[in-house]
């Protein structure tokens, strides 16, 4: 038996097929990027909704037999499979056993497969008791026909939908944060409910026809305390009414207390929740800009109207600047960009992030640069350097591009004095005036102009000025007309925007079929 189990485990461990199946199941259940997950989710949602509609309809009308069977057997069957799949992919039982087996072999001691099995199974058991697993299990139960009461468990199927809503998790999160306050209040509440419930039972069970059991007393206490007051049970004795007065007053106090705790918890977390929303949106967009600091430079940057920047977020740790940015209508987060936690919330692995360090302090900018680079080298950092003496430090910190506002302005002034004509030209190019754009044409490996000679590309008739080719790290200025374009070249051309777009459009279409 033991050997058989072990050989099975080894077989599973070695089988690539088993692994692909498991990975597939995992993807379908958890991987947001998997195409099938969407369909799987939609199926589950459809099953849940249809099941609940049938339940409600059934109360007053009779449903056809096949619909009943669909509801009870088919839906439950699918849910059961889902449940088992989730249980299966929760951990790798075979891997745990193999690991323990290898350890045992290494230490040359006896291998006990059952203890390894126990570790794995206890992990699975842990999963069984998580709230979502319990909901899943309860959603299967209605399949058991003989117990009619189980029909109501169909409502648990609705809870399965919670998996697809993030707001409920945030809500629970907020409540968990106030666990201490809420628990204290709950105990106080229970104490009052039970004492007054017992009291009313003792005092009035004899005289009041509506109070029969202790449950009636407690039910009355809760209804009164919540200021609901159905009136189906009402005290008849003076002492009973006195108790009512007491618990009504304490009830009002208690409820307003609970409300205020929850409201304050939410308002405390409101900004954080908003920030989470922003970060989520950013991470979804796959390529975005993080701008640190909302100072003069940032304001100018956003005022350029050169092109609309869609995916960006401004981070500033000064609340007054955050408010100013909000007023100006920008997406902004009040947070400290130099802290690891802040930047780590962005998905640097899967997104193209460009970070602009634009605060007025070099110390801050260097810190943010280092912070970003320590999270991922992939984050591209453009840093503002205020003091030229710090430039080296920025390079050491790993900033991809540095920008010195003073120096840029100085060179512009210098040029405006020395070469006024050129200043106009450069200014037009830098500010991207439509008459003079310098633009890059990125040639991909399947681009239509690969392998063509420069003379065959009629730049002149497209009203473009061809400047050169960036090939690898080398820039070839004004290459000869027989130069052949290679894949991944970047062609630098100058001209009006429409000429550039026209040129790009006529050369994009004919993707070469040459191999």
């Amino acid at each position: 038996m033991r050997d058989k189990l072990l050989s099975l485990v080894l077989f599973l461990h070695r089988s690539p097929k088993y692994k692909t199946y498991k990975q597939f199941a995992r993807n379908i259940l958890f991987n947001e990027e998997n195409v099938y997950k969407r369909y799987f989710d939609l199926t589950i949602i459809f099953l849940v909704i249809s099941s609940v509609i049938i339940l409600v309809y059934e109360v007053k009308y009779s449903v056809p037999q096949w619909l009943d069977n669909y509801d009870i057997y088919f839906v439950s069957f699918v849910f059961a499979i889902e449940y088992l799949l989730r249980l299966w992919v929760y951990n790798d039982l075979s891997e745990i056993i193999i690991a323990e087996y290898n350890d045992a072999k290494f230490l040359q001691k006896d291998f006990n497969i059952y203890s390894a099995l126990k570790t794995g199974l206890s992990q699975k058991l842990k999963y069984v008791f998580t709230p979502s697993a319990i909901v899943d299990l309860l959603a299967i139960l209605p399949a058991y026909r003989p117990l009619r009461i189980l029909r109501v468990f169909i409502l648990f199927r609705v809870f399965k939908l919670l998996r697809y809503t993030k707001s409920i998790n945030q809500f629970i999160d907020v409540l968990v944060n106030k666990k201490f306050e809420l628990l204290t209040l709950l105990f106080l509440l229970l104490f009052i409910v039970f004492t007054s419930g017992i009291a009313i039972y003792i005092l009035e069970a004899e005289k009041n026809v509506n109070i029969d059991t202790l449950f009636d007393g407690i039910y009355w206490a809760v209804v009164t305390m919540a200021t609901v007051g159905y009136g189906d049970i009402a005290p008849v004795t003076d002492i009973g009414r006195a108790i009512s007065i007491l618990i009504i007053i304490s009830g009002i106090a208690m409820i307003s207390f609970v409300t205020s705790v929850i409201v304050s918890a939410f308002s405390e977390r409101l900004n954080e929740l908003k920030d989470n929303r922003i970060i989520e949106q950013m991470n979804k967009s796959k390529s975005f800009l993080i701008v640190c600091g909302y100072g003069q430079l940032t304001k100018m940057f956003f005022r350029q109207n050169r092109r609309t920047i869609e995916n960006y977020v401004i981070i500033d740790n000064d609340i007054s600047r955050v408010e100013a940015a909000k007023k100006d209508g920008y997406t902004v987060m009040h947070d400290n960009a130099s802290s690891f936690e802040t930047l780590n919330r962005f998905d640097a692995k899967n997104c193209d992030i460009i970070l602009l360090c634009m605060t007025a302090s070099d110390v801050e900018n260097i810190y943010i640069t280092l912070n970003a680079k320590s999270i991922s080298r992939k984050i591209k950092v453009i840093a503002r350097v205020n003091d030229p003496l710090n430039l080296d430090k920025f390079n050491y910190a790993g900033a991809d591009e540095t920008l010195m506002p003073g120096k840029v302005a100085n060179t512009m002034i210098y040029m405006a004095i020395t070469q006024p004509t050129m200043y106009k030209a450069i200014h037009a190019i830098l500010t991207g005036k439509s008459i003079a754009n310098i633009d890059e044409i990125h040639v991909h490996h399947s681009h239509g102009i690969v392998d063509t000679q420069l003379k065959d590309l009629d730049f002149k008739s497209s009203k473009l000025l061809f400047i050169g080719i960036q090939r690898g790290n080398e820039f070839i200025f004004n290459p000869s007309s027989s130069e052949v374009i290679q894949p991944y070249d970047i062609l630098l051309v100058m001209g009006r925007k429409i000429s550039l777009e026209y040129f790009k459009s006529i050369h994009k279409g004919n993707i070469s079929v040459k191999k």
Partner: protein, 235 residues
């Protein structure tokens, strides 16, 4: 030519850089400061014509004979001083060309109102640069070279001299690539003072007195500026 005479107001962060650059290029510069510390800095950096005057007082400003200067550059570190100075200079010297630096949108507006001919906004140019880095990194690096006038590919403007072989030719007919340079644009005197890029698609006739702007390697540009003085191109 008086164009080479420049007055720089302020020897702070910006003034220092500009003054040194201009001195290297052989400009005749005069520095005016009202701050003693900066005045000493300028002295230490071997500038000859330095005046320590209170720029807030018109009488003192008048003492300097500005009529011989073509360009007045206001680059004081204090933006309030800059605006005030621009205003005083404009009221005192109506024909001067005044260039000012600004560090915010509001100041730019004020400087323009005060009568500055050209205002360079510290953050605007930087903001533009960020855009350029984001949009077209290769082009930006190249432009950086143009602007920074380091070795390598630079811009150069030159005036077509009398009797040059370029005189009378259509811009499209001249093969600039022969000289390893490219024509970017020009100021055609017949049309006015505005700058035309070659890519606008309008036919231009080159005449003597026109200014052309070319890009290319520094020495090739030098060679070309010698070449256009000749009546016939040998290349």
């Amino acid at each position: 030519m008086s164009k080479n005479k420049v007055v720089i107001f302020g020897y702070g962060n910006h003034g220092k850089f500009i003054a040194k650059g201009l001195q290297n290029d052989g400009f005749d510069i005069t520095i005016i400061e009202s701050d003693k510390k900066f005045y000493k800095d300028a002295k230490a950096d071997n500038f000859k014509k330095i005046f320590l005057i209170d720029v807030l007082k018109d009488d003192e400003l008048k003492k300097v004979d500005f009529d011989v200067f073509e360009q007045l550059v206001c680059v004081m570190d204090d933006e309030h001083l800059n605006v005030f100075l621009t205003l005083s200079l404009r009221s005192l010297f109506k024909d001067s060309y005044i260039l000012s630096i600004s560090d915010s949108l509001n100041v730019t507006k004020k400087l323009k109102m005060a009568g500055a001919d050209k205002v360079i906004d510290l953050y605007e140019v930087s903001a533009n640069k960020i855009y350029n880095i984001l949009d077209r990194p290769v082009a930006t690096r190249l432009l950086e070279g143009f602007v920074g006038s380091q070795d390598g590919i630079v811009f150069k403007e030159m005036v077509i001299p009398e009797g040059s072989f370029l005189d009378g030719q259509m811009a499209d007919d001249v093969d600039f690539s022969k000289y390893d340079i490219l024509l970017v644009g020009m100021i055609d005197k017949e049309i006015g003072h505005s700058f035309f890029f070659v890519t606008t698609g309008i036919e231009h006739k080159l005449d003597s007195g026109d200014t052309i702007v070319c890009i290319g390697l520094k020495d090739k540009l030098e060679d070309f500026s010698e070449e256009i003085k000749k009546t016939e191109s040998k290349i």
